[in-house]
Amino acid sequence: MRSFTGSLSEVVQSTRDFVLQGDFLNGLSQELIFAIRLALEEAVTNAHRHGHGGDPDRPISIAFSRHGDDLILEVADTGDGFDPGSVPDPRSPEGIERSSGRGLLLIRAFMHHVEHLDAGRRIRMRRCLEPARSS
């Protein structure tokens, strides 16, 4: 696990480098790398913007590991947490024109399993890396 601080752009860049330059991604399809990168950046953005209110000095922690065909990716903040069930559906007629609020929707679509832990301060995402089993 490593922690990152800085502006949102800096943290997005640093965490992207940390995760996507790992050797375990060698040989993965562009489709898989797209999914992992998108989920990572959405989770980091949520942590920075909502968890920390944009405070660049508060650390965002990233951990990732590969278990067989599965990638496990975790992003944690030190904020007040949140109730994932309270997030409005951005596909609703009221939400479709909104300029924000689609991060969790995309994470859930591109990862195969998503858990919210520690009262919403930590998100654990799993993605199967075996193309034959991808959904």
Binding site: S9, V12, F34, R37, T45, I96, L106
Partner: protein, 117 residues
């Protein structure tokens, strides 16, 4: 302007494009929004194309920026066309149920034809 963004015109059509391999993340999204809005507010009935050729990644921040740009363009009775989406980026619009909200074209040439129809 961000060096990863290019802004050109074709007749009365403004076109915003990207360098090959662009990651349309938080920082580039702000540049996209600024460049596109600048193009949209200089004329009545703006005709604007955002050409995704070369874009290999985007996040929900880009969707939000495009919705903002669309509101501005349509508020001026203009037209916004999104062109050259890769299959992965296309899927993001499908997941977000934004396909009915935007107009799409397969490539820049087709988008120009739509603007001039």
């Amino acid at each position: 302007m961000d060096q990863a963004i290019e802004s050109t015109t074709f007749g009365d059509v403004s076109i915003v494009g990207f360098q090959t391999g662009s990651l349309l993340d938080e920082s580039l999204v702000r540049a996209l929004e600024s460049t596109a809005l600048n193009a949209a507010v200089t004329v009545d009935r703006p005709k604007l194309i955002v050409d995704f050729e070369g874009v290999v990644h985007l996040t929900s921040a880009a969707l939000g920026a495009l919705l903002t740009i669309r509101r501005e363009v349509e508020g001026r009775q203009g037209i916004l066309i999104l062109a050259s989406l890769s299959p992965a980026i296309d899927e993001v619009f499908d997941i977000a149920c934004l396909r009915p909200v935007f107009a799409f074209a397969a490539n820049r040439s087709a988008a120009i034809d739509l603007c001039q129809a």
